[in-house]
Amino acid sequence: MEWPGLGSAFWLQLTRDLRLAFRHIGQAANPLMFFVMVTTLFPLALSPAPELLEAIAPGVIWVSALLASLLAAESLFRQDVEDGTMEQLALSPQPLSLLLLAKTTSHWLMTGLPLVLMAPVVGHALFLPTEAIPATMLALLLATPVLSLAGAVMAALTVGLRRGGGLLSLLILPVVMPVLIFGARATDMAMQALDVSGVMYLLAAVLLLAISLAPAGMAAAMRISLD
């Protein structure tokens, strides 16, 4: 037997998910909306003293990035499992891990990437010093995929289950806390004009680790959930 190669399978899955996402543009917009709300909330709600905002800027950016991706993880696989298309993916000759990775990628493109692109805007809103913004964007670029991947693994674990009770968040947060720490540290150091390369390397390493391990984890978890 012969079947299409990995590349085309990945591409097919990716494009399909993106098309679906754009048909549900509303749901896709939610995390972004949340991100904007959060970042505008702080200046509005707190006494908007620039130095204070500047001090909390890293925390706000990173936590809202984390929470936004968390928000989206919930609905990553659920629909596919409920309408039975996931079953068909598991029954296709393509490795399930690849297909789920593709789904996660599209998910990242819809939730993670916008955050990276919005970082400058948010940064300005919070009086983040301009020189800290490139570093922040790079750090986000490295970290958000990790958040998506971790979220995907946990989503695959819990997809069969009744929702609510914030079980998913309970599972994701512990795993991603280190990423958060590193990321925020990167922004922090950049603000003090320190050398961030060390942290960046660390984030990159974590990302590589996640990319290499997460897909297998997702696939295993998904096969269990489908059983």
Binding site: M1, L12, Q13, E87, P93
Partner: protein, 210 residues
């Protein structure tokens, strides 16, 4: 050992538990090219579960499934490339049209020209509904999309779980025709259906569950 006379699909004393209850045990069978196995039994006796075991979705408590003599776990990709499973639920993305659905699902398993897919859709009589998202197709039309998938997939083994569901008379005849042709092409069919199927020729066997 993949000549058509050889056993292609084999189940060796399969056993499955659900909760406290044992659904089935010591289920064994062999299926050669051009054969149809009709699995029958009352509601809830474990037919669907058996099919899921056979296509590798569920791990049996004991027993093994062999495809072309190799354990299923060993050559999963190969097996899945040559099977097509139609479950109780048609697995369609509600927001995509029938065509988009097929293009995606089949694109993962074989190279197809749009013509092939149109052909399949025409065969099952959905040409008029090109632009309708699967969500607003009627129950029978959804079922027909799944049939089109089986047609276009070019799979050797069809696993059909109650394919007659929601189909009108013409639709049920279509299913019978499809199966006969498939068997004629030395295909294999695993059929679960409560009513008697209308496949006249070809080797037909029955497996009673429960």
């Amino acid at each position: 050992m993949a000549e058509d006379t050889a056993v292609l699909l084999e189940g060796k004393d399969l056993e499955l538990w659900r909760g406290e209850t044992r659904l089935f045990s010591r289920v064994s069978f062999q299926l050669k090219a051009g054969e149809l196995l009709h699995i029958v039994g009352p509601n809830g006796c474990g037919k669907t579960s058996l099919l899921r075991v056979l296509c590798g979705l569920t791990l049996p408590e004991t027993g093994e499934v062999y495809w072309q003599g190799k354990k299923l776990a060993r050559n999963r990709a190969n097996f899945h490339a040559s099977t097509c499973y139609l479950g109780h639920r048609e697995s369609l993305k509600a927001d995509l049209t029938a065509e988009e659905n097929l293009v995606f699902q089949l694109g993962l398993r074989c190279w197809l020209s749009p013509a092939d897919i149109h052909g399949a859709l025409e065969r099952v009589g959905l040409t008029g509904r090109r632009t309708v998202p699967a969500r607003s197709l009627s129950a029978g039309q959804k079922r027909r999309v799944s049939l089109a998938r089986a047609l276009a997939s070019g799979a050797k083994l069809w696993i059909l779980d109650e394919p007659y569901t929601n189909l009108d008379v013409a639709g049920r005849e279509l299913v019978d025709q499809m199966m006969s042709e498939h068997l004629g092409r030395d295909g294999l069919v695993l059929l679960v259906a409560h009513q008697a199927h209308g496949v006249a020729d070809g080797v037909r066997r029955r497996l009673e569950l429960g």
